[in-house]
Symmetry: C2
Subunit: 252 residues, 2 copies
DNA sequence: ACCCGATTCTCATTCATCGAGAGGGATTCA
DNA sequence: TGAATCCCTCTCGATGAATGAGAATCGGGT
């Protein structure tokens, strides 16, 4: 039977297949994939079979498929995220030991911050961040740091878009976001009490490379105590020390 | 002009493009990619442009392209390697603190061990292992553990293939490999003095999931001192403790 | 400013890919 | 245990997404 003209490439279809997997759905059947992507089941079956053969997907025993180990390898071994993470790791571990709770490393991707590393402790405060997870730039401390030092065009684009609200404390007006970005540039850090979760305070500072360009943010998530107005001030020195160490390593 | 019938799919070509990037070559030009893959430069240019658009690749400022952050995200967020790594991380950190040098986490992929995590210390003994790097099963302590507990068919396949030699100590005969695998199953650990590098001793134990299947190996690399025949015995208890903790976490 | 290599664009051609439908296997339910 | 249903794969005719040749454009070096 004649193929249907959609103008969509095979590559685009394969990426959409990969995109249906997530931390909450790590294995899916072919019929699920077809349903989620809108692909014909015969097409989905054939593409899945080829992706399995290439290592992009792997088959489980119960007819479901999952993301393949080879894909992780191809994506990681030459990835800027891995080299950044390797440079950052010793400093992130130190930061984590000092501050406890969560220590995180994020990079900008489009209008989001993507977390490439997160160290957590048992009993740490609630944290919605996941490794390989995203948050909008305006709503997280890492995101605000990355946005404050982003090209002007990107800042305008974020300011022009709807600003999603997670809690009553999340920034959701352009004017407040402009003021916050100016503060971040002036003080060199971002502090976000209750932006994503009422009980969590996020604090982040920028990481620069050898050309002083901001390439990532390092942050911690600690308990948000509205009666403690010194909590941010307490963690900033350790964040800055970690950031300096990471930047130094990146500059070699 | 008419396309040339090679029988090769677009997906296969895209994977071959991704495969040319490695830890030693993280950014390449389109003409390099065409040369390495044998693709026509117009085809390489077009595929690269599309992969950039999809986030599988990213453009650098100097006409070179690198692996894209979105690819890392798709590969990681639902990856069994990431969930294994997250389960293992606290125990790996403890192991690393106790043993020093290197602590590693590996999974089997085909006839190789793929390292999904590696913690290293400043001044640690030489280690050729890289995160997202591979070693043949027969030549590394992690690999021997994974092979010893692999399906019989895979063991026969490895035994039938040429066994690559890295140092004079590397296992390179089938009979010696059979004996070693039997020892690994009997003792519950693998010890590899000087297999990959003369000065490095690798020791590994298996990690099981809830069904007692061996799903990964945890290992350490410490200095290889031929006059110290107790080095392996010294690290095995800490390795076993880490493996038990990881297995327990995986079984929830 | 010029040259050259690298890259992209255009376009005729075609084969890799598609979807419909059939067939077989797996799962579920009575 | 058998029937019904669902899931998945395979085949094949149709075709448009993809290719490669050559021209055009761009970027870097001198």
């Amino acid at each position: 039977m004649a193929r249907v003209a959609t103008g969509e490439s095979v590559l685009s279809r394969a990426v959409r297949i990969l995109a249906v997997f997530g931390p909450d759905e790590r294995a899916l059947r072919v019929s699920d994939i077809a349903a989620r992507t809108g692909l014909h089941v015969a097409t989905a079956s054939r593409l899945v079979a080829e992706m399995v053969q290439l290592g992009l997907l792997g088959r489980e025993d119960d007819r479901r498929v999952r993301v393949g180990v080879r894909l992780w390898e191809l994506a990681s071994r030459a990835s800027p995220t891995l080299s950044l993470r390797e440079a950052a790791m010793p400093f992130l571990e130190d930061l984590h030991a000092v501050v406890g709770h969560h220590a995180q490393l994020g990079v900008r991707d489009g209008t989001d911050v993507l977390f490439v590393e997160r160290l957590s402790a048992p009993g740490a405060v609630v944290n919605y961040t996941r490794i390989a997870g995203r948050l909008p730039l305006h709503a997280s401390s890492s995101g605000l740091v990355l946005l404050a030092h982003a090209p002007h065009e990107l800042q305008e684009r974020v300011l022009a878009a709807p600003l999603a609200r997670f809690t009553p404390h999340t920034i959701c007006t352009p004017s407040r976001l402009r003021r916050t970005l100016a503060d971040v540039r002036r003080t060199g850090h971002a502090s976000c009490p209750g932006f994503i979760h009422e009980q969590a305070l996020g604090v982040a500072v920028p990481i620069t490379d050898g050309t002083r360009a901001v390439v990532a943010a390092v942050s911690v998530i600690v308990p948000n105590d509205p009666t403690d107005d010194q909590a941010t001030r307490a963690v900033v020195p350790a964040l800055r020390a970690a950031a300096r160490g990471i930047s130094r390593t990146l500059s070699r």
